[in-house]
Amino acid sequence: MENSWFQKGFKKIEEPKSPDSMIESLMSDVHAAFAVQPMCYTAFDLISSLAQGFDLSGLFEKEERSGSMFTTKKEAKEIVSKFEEIATSSERFDLKKINVGVIKMEDRREGRKGQVAIEVEIFEVTESFNMVEFKKSGGDTMEYKQFCDRELKPSSKDIVWKWQGN
């Protein structure tokens, strides 16, 4: 390798990053993204999201719906960290940022209808009061529901103030 003939045009291959340092850089990317404020919630947004009486889908549904929205007293970056934690410990979901205030969790595995993907959106009502809404953005509904009921919801308990509908 010391021979100049080999060194011509040679570019040293960088050592692949260890998983830990990759997670670290991902986390700092995500945190940087959330240095900007998430979308602002007006009083009307608050009312239309939380007031069950304004939501007529109840007329068509047979049972009580399980919520996909919750209020929290945590700040945006704590919320993001929590979802990172959930993604990491699931050992199958990756976290991506789509937009300001919107993150996406995507299953690495292929499910019955492709990869399950969950979009999480954070709305700021006040500094210490945020709304978090998550919904399925890809994959099989059953698999999405299973993940929500078994992992996402139980694990997010410590940041949830109130679930919508309860």
Binding site: C40, T42, A43, F44, D45, L46, I47, S48, L50, A51, Q52, G53, F54, D55, L56, S57, G58, L59, F60, E63, E64, T71, V125, T126, F129, W161, K162, Q164, N166
Partner: protein, 239 residues
Amino acid sequence: MSQCVDGFKHVCNSLLRCFDIDIGKSSGGPGDPELLARDTVCNALISSSISTPFISVSEIEALYELFKKISSAVIDDGLINKEEFQLALFKTNKKESLFADRVFDLFDTKHNGILGFEEFALALSVFHPNAPIDDKIDFSFQLYDLKQQGFIERQEVKQMVVATLAESGMNLSDEVIESIIDKTFEEADTKHDGRIDKEEWRILVLRHPSLLKNMTLQYLKDITTTFPSFVFHSQVEDT
């Protein structure tokens, strides 16, 4: 325009024939509530067909099935009272809600405390995915205009925010609530007169389309699949 109305009359006539065949429980005589219901809804829908030309025969039938289900829950009289409405919305009649009351009042165009099929169908038609956005904007404005004065006052917004938080079991300090409303009015009340009129509401909603999310019920588009039993009753093809 006239094509719409003709097409609509055709749909309604088909529906009339359809209900004649499905005689079932009704006696069929004049004054029979079922016949009256479908006659009035047809007339009402014909006159509003210019703005809501989306209802097909099977959709009206399916909507009627839903209406019958809701209206027979407490008193089987072919009408929805407030208790039955609450029961249908919340699956419990123990829940008092400022908002359900407001919705019920808006549905109740005859102001007699009960909903007939015509009122039910006409109000729900605004929630159809294909309904004109202006109708949705109007309806939502009226929902928030608690005192029905033609504008939304700051005090009304506060009342609704407080009620929303109470219903959800959350409490916030008055200071925080005031700051939320301040922020909202700063954005919405462009004329700075302490209230939000229809024009300002319209502009706000066009900027925040998610404010209208409750004004569209996807279920209405698929209603014939939610109430499929009607497919067998209908002897008439959809046009």
